[in-house]
């Protein structure tokens, strides 16, 4: 089960605004899904190692050479706001 306060805490961690009228329905949906997920508690996993990645990656290093990257104007082109060759965002402290 996940209650309103827990949901608000998680939404805060996820930087996701939720409206008051979204809280109860979202908490109910998440609780149903989490209850189903919890069925895996029936499995005995003693001594089982976790798998983070299925493949063997042993050649992931490249030589340390300077290579071309996206030109700055191209990288900035899709941005909602730019100024002085950088991404422009609102002040953290507010206006």
């Amino acid at each position: 089960m996940i209650d309103r306060d827990e949901l608000l805490h998680v939404a805060r961690l996820a930087r996701l605004a939720l409206r008051d009228d979204e809280l109860d329905s979202t908490a109910a949906e998440l609780s149903t899904i989490l209850d189903h997920i919890a069925t895996f508690d029936e499995l005995d996993l003693g001594g089982v190692e976790p798998t983070a990645h299925v493949g063997d990656v042993d050649d992931s290093l490249r030589t340390d050479e300077v290579r071309a990257s996206l030109p700055r104007d191209v990288a900035l082109a899709p941005a909602p706001a730019v100024r002085d060759d950088g991404f422009l965002v609102p002040s953290p402290q507010g206006e």
């Binding site: 996940i2 827990e6 949901l7 805490h9 998680v10 939404a11 961690l13 996820a14 930087r15 996701l16 605004a17 939720l18 409206r19 979202t26 949906e29 998440l30 149903t32 899904i33 989490l34 189903h36 997920i37 919890a38 069925t39 895996f40 508690d41 029936e42 499995l43 996993l45 089982v48 190692e49 976790p50 798998t51 983070a52 990645h53 299925v54 493949g55 063997d56 990656v57 050649d59 992931s60 490249r62 996206l70 191209v74 990288a75 082109a77 899709p78 941005a79 909602p80 706001a81 991404f87 965002v89 609102p90 002040s91 953290p92 402290q93 507010g94 206006e95």
Partner: protein, 473 residues
Amino acid sequence: MSEELQALSAADAAAAIAKGDLGRGELFEHYRARAASDELNAFTWVAESMPDSVDGPLGGVPIAVKDLFCTEGIPSQAGSKILAGYCPPYTATAVANLEAAGAPILGKTNQDEFAMGSSNENSAYGPVQNPWDRSRVPGGSSGGSAAAVAAGLAPWALGTDTGGSIRQPAALCGIVGLKPTYGAVSRYGMIAFASSLDSAGPLTRNVTDAALFYRHLVGRDSADATSVSFPEPIALPTSERLDGITLAVPAALVDGDGIEAGVRDSFEAALESARGLGATVVSCEIPSAPYALSAYYVIAPAEASSNLARFDGVRYGLRVDATNLDAMYTETRHDGFGDEVKRRILIGTYALSSGYYDAYYGRAQRVRTVVASELSAIFQTADFIVTPTSPTVAFGLGERTADPLAMYLSDLFTIPMSLAGTPAISIPSGLSDGLPVGLQICGPAFSENRILGAAHALERAIGFDGSSAWSAL
């Protein structure tokens, strides 16, 4: 001429172009006109003219590309409002490989938002209709790709599969879909959902087309550190028999509740066809399969919650103006993401948060180990695991949208392979009440050539004809 063109498979069209019997411009225009008049909402963008394309072994046969792939200068919206109108500055390696082999981009196809869904109803650009019955879903998340190929609006298409997103829509639309071995295809430029599971692969009209397409898709890419070189060339399949091949059927899973009678009948008939070709069918068990679904719905959302942190209104996509930075982030994400994406971000954030990490994410990763070792044990004595691809045929639009958990259960048969990183194909096994049923064939890592061979032999024996789903010629 257009009916003859339409009847050509992609491989046949490539051969006809190579022989000089067919102009690539003529083929492109045929499909461009069909894609432009799409009534299924399968496409989110269609080329206005044939792009400059190179000579190559794919002969100029155009590709439809799932909108999850970045394509330079072409809208790449991943089914999300948060990327409305976004035109990336570079092209995904998978797409670039196909273009370099001679396949120009025909259009971009609709999908569930960020590939999260099993019905294509989670798209900000509207649901896609199944060409076999327009009141039903095409499956998801590569629903637009599957519907476009099934309806003959594209010769073939590129899709992605995280928990079944190529195989399930291929099954529901009566076409072929191949989920590769994890790492065989570069993920560079594929907008990330769950990085340890995401795979790119073909959706095609037949198995030979899938092999030809896949041959040009695989390869190590220095831009994706998890990509690997495929250990052998991908061959065009020629098998007509299954002598000496052992197929393992996970009996408890396939006999379980929730599988439709028509799906089970079609599956049994496919097994009978396999026996007729010389195969031995044995029973096996994947005891962890029901728990695989739980593990998947922790791991995929957990990775998604991290990957989707990049959509913050700073560098690309939607920004909702606000008076301070934090409010800009939270309001942009509130307005830009759809309901299912928000659910998964919240589940994933919860599963990774302090106090819950071991109970959810840690446990899910251990279940993943168990699933992979159970599949591996089966492959010690059997060549392939076979199941229906989906427990049901295409369901009605709107039928499962109110119940996210019911939607998740669509992926019951496809998720174990995703967690294990093993390849699997879905081919049509027949019809149930006029709707396609898919057969899934799964093998160990890097067994794609053998899977394609077995699928080719079965395809010939089953003799499925999907041409009735082509909209009026």
